[in-house]
Symmetry: D3
Subunit: 247 residues, 6 copies
């Protein structure tokens, strides 16, 4: 049995609930999903700055989860903030939802487009595409200029904007799969896939299955070298409780 | 419940048995694993030529498996022969074991080395590393010059040669994980990992879990565009029975 | 004097005749061109699956040609199926027509576009562009959605569709040369070049000249390492006669 | 006249003093250098985790500096933590010391090696090399396994270890310039350069000059698109005071 | 105090004056700017051929300037002709204006477009983008089909054509900064920046500041290895006076 | 019948004779080889500076050869100086010997190493490897620190040094073919290949065959766009006779 902690790095509890529901909908019977968000930090993540601050708060959830013995972790924000730092702090595997979705897309399609929220976040996805080595699989990165929190509001018309952008990605980019660029879109996947006619990949569910897979394979984060636990060290002031402890 | 067909593209039944056992050892209770090898083709795959011929035979197993309604497929040879052709012929996901192992490694380590059989197959792995976009994660590709079939023979000393090469990969390449470069090594994973102290990733088991994941996510091979079923067409002569049929 | 075997990997004899005629039109007086197609396999190659099956049949023509002492080989299908396997089986040089055309284009132009048959084959050309390192020379890959066998039928209007796509490549991609993306287009080169005003490169003729060049230079496929003859090995069943023999 | 804020993202004041002295030693007479470190966070930065936490604290110094009207900013940690987030929060230019040193090296040499502190930080430098596009200029990334704070202690023998590693970089990597991989090495540059005979580049001083340059050119961070000020947004809990305000 | 020689590689003195004025407008009080052009060579540089010939003449200015003891050099043509050869002949730093502008853009923006003169020079800029490693920062390279010398003629309407192309770069390429692709545009920067609303970067001024920076840092061209002074050697005929002398 | 002008860009007539002999040894009976060197410029090319000056002189030979109606051109210096400028000035194809050798190597081997003269020229070869897109085929670039003119002197021991370096390339780089890195090595090819046991590729002979091929294919340098003839323009002073004329 695997216990997986799914961390929504923003502080909006309703989005955490959406994410939790999506995670549980795909988890194996033997998997326990716990979904949390930090109490500290931005209510949504739509800039490098939001990412940087939320990463610090998210990492505290990793620490806490590690102490509680979780077998693996999902970082449920499409920018995968703090991913390598989280791997340093965790024994089990840690996967980001952008990472999971992009890799999954490369398994079933030759070209995917990312459809995300605000235009200014496209550059974040673009950097991830390069970091994960999927440049040749990525046909486009598109924003529908829906703020993240509008996804929580059914009257916002967000679904239609997203569906339209997906259709443009297929027609104009030549995409044959869609990667949804926000954890808050996890509940739209099935409906979108049914309507637009190509696979639609949500990172939350993909990450849950991949963490389950790694746990099932007995694969944990390598603690030899680059991702070893940070050595114990003094942290000053307001961050003193963030200091890495002895392993 | 998922029914997964694991195809060993060479014709050596004992290796198919090894692969099947590894596959079943990680499969979820709800997954049925069927492992097969073609009756036609090379007894082991150690060259581009062996790959090319085995790909044709392997594709017939995909066709047969597709007709039998399998939910997903694993190509259990580290060169991932015929992968894109297999995706064209399959409704469900198809994953190669090199692909699975390399992606898994990138989830838990910053640098992996591949440890494979014969030197002449290193160039095959090198091309896959580029095709899958994991150049920046790959610290080295190493052969221990053990023929594939020697893996089936405990008296061959193969295990020790592989373990030694893994240790050199860690010391000389800076690898912090090992990817095993042959489906026939699947039974060595646990022992190697225990001895060498870094994660050791076998593609057979990794591919089974990733196919399970995709099936669990409802993600199938995209049939829009590049990977659509090949159109019906005449095939001549000895290959007439290989002709794609109407979908 | 060089004896070059030009292999059309599909089984359509009329296309082989077109290819042979193109090959002879550029061969040196001292070169003997023999053009063949396998009797087994697809009548045209328009998918990864068609490629994989035709590669097996094509390789038998390489084996036969090698036994007959040909000095060099051309694989006359734009996907260059089985190229590295063919090199393993051959003493002399082996060149694919996509490879030849793309390299030739890089010698006389800064940007070429590929104009090919069906859209679904564009991804094959795209992978070759990467494998051959000509990404920076390739301005676009375009399909005119003419099936391969329509090229054999003058009434199909194929010529006009191809010419129109070439013009769009010049205008929209900024191409200053065109690479024709199918062996069956070899007879259109001169007319196209005269009409569209930029160099038009057919891979069949380019490959013949490059194989002639390598033969004239005394350069054969390197048998040291990666492309050495495959070792002798048992092949089972229907493929038993494909087994590599002792060298 | 330019007022430049140099931020040491760790909390060790003696290192901030070293950095300040180096910065002032190269600043133009018309430039005012202010050097600060956050009060909160790690005493040194030697892991992704240290980086992630220090980035949050560093960004508060950017906010404060922006409010005080600084003309430009230097992030004086070789991992350039929080660089893009800092650019979002700043009107003037923001440069990281790794970025500055790597670019400077490419102006005066064909190959540089980075010589840094702990081995586990090499992967951070490696990622920056890729992000900044200097792969072809980087001959190697080497650690001398000196902890960052040992640089502050003359009796640690750090200087000699660094000098030895620089010599190995020249001999073994073929480097013709050295980039020092830690802000705390800023005071060693002149001595090292005199002893090892190739240019030695410290990022602190390079970044100060490049920020001065950009200020002198009237070039500020582009506020069109990706690096625009983050929109005003609620931040919860302990990070509530980090919320971006209206611009 | 730094003495910087700014070399306009073409022979048009009025353009040299424009460049000199721009250079002086940003130079520090302690910097002396000398601007020169060769007497021999093309009146403008608009092709690879113009570049090749002007490079020879420009290098004589480097030799002369080196003999006169200049502290650093700027090559004020956007193709950066002869840059590495100039570095071999110089003790101090040498920077090309394309190099300077592209690096500066990467410090303040995520995406820049180059706006240059004639279409046929775009390929030159494209090669520089790759050589300098800024592919991921470059959103587009655009020509406004204004001949270089038309920039000297106010009645040519060049300004408006350039401004329009900049606006298209922002709208169509997603650029958030503009790099001007000709030394002769140096006097347009401020007006363009004010009108189009994103940073506009001229290479002449950027290069002057970066050379000043390197001089201020005590960084000279590495004379270890690749960029060492060429050994003394006989040059024949008309180029006999170009022969490198003993250092 | 093809008339090919082979230009040795340095002024050493004995090397031109060596090159001419190599060129004629492989040319078809129907090909006329004319080999020339400029009277002006360096006696050997061993630096970027030598390259830049020789390029100017070489281009005059292209102009003269173009006026005389040569069908194609070879630039017989391994740095391929002035290649794109030469293409602008020529109607027929122009190939550099590094370009020819590297492409030829990619046709017959998976990995080549370059063995060249002086260490300082390795960086030139490295840049060409990137420009021609053969990074993945290049296993190493090695100097044997033989000055170019020592190749003309049998008593220099150059042959042995080169042969030894070739053997190291095979053993240490894993090369399965050797590219000779200097036009002056053209006469060593056959002996080296016989002794070291892998294909040895000389660019002079390879370029002659490839130019012959292009001429035979009716392929000329594209005059549409980037490589069009430079427009007529005033050149001043000593270079006035270099001015492009009307086409």
């Amino acid at each position: 049995m695997a216990r997986i902690l799914v961390i929504n790095p923003n502080t909006t509890a309703s989005m955490t609930a959406t994410i939790a529901e999506a995670a549980r909908s795909v988890a194996s019977p033997a998997t326990e999903i716990v979904a949390r968000n930090p109490e500290d930090g931005p209510v949504s993540i739509e800039s490098h700055y939001d990412e940087a601050i939320s990463a610090a708060a998210m990492l505290q959830e990793i620490r806490r989860g590690e102490a509680e013995g979780f077998d693996g972790f999902v970082i449920a924000c499409f920018g995968d903030p703090g991913l390598l730092a989280a791997r340093e702090m965790a024994t089990g595997p840690v996967i980001g939802i952008a990472e999971a979705a992009m890799h999954a897309a490369s398994f079933i399609a030759t070209k995917f487009s990312v459809v995300t929220t605000l235009s200014r976040t496209c550059v974040i996805a673009e950097h991830l595409v390069r970091n994960y080595g999927v440049e040749h699989f990525c046909a486009g990165i598109r924003a529908c200029d829906v703020p993240v929190l509008a996804l929580e509001d059914e009257s916002s018309g967000a679904y239609q904007l997203i569906a339209d952008e997906c259709r443009r990605a297929i027609a104009e980019d030549g995409a044959n799969a869609i990667v949804l660029g926000c954890g808050g879109m996890a509940d739209l996947t099935a409906r979108l896939q049914a309507e637009i006619g190509v696979p639609v990949i949500d990172g939350v569910t993909a990450a849950v299955k991949f963490v389950e897979s790694l746990v099932g394979l007995g694969l944990r984060t390598s603690k030899h070298g680059d991702l070893a636990f940070p050595g114990p060290k003094t942290y000053s002031g307001a961050f003193s409780q963030y200091a890495p402890s002895q392993h």
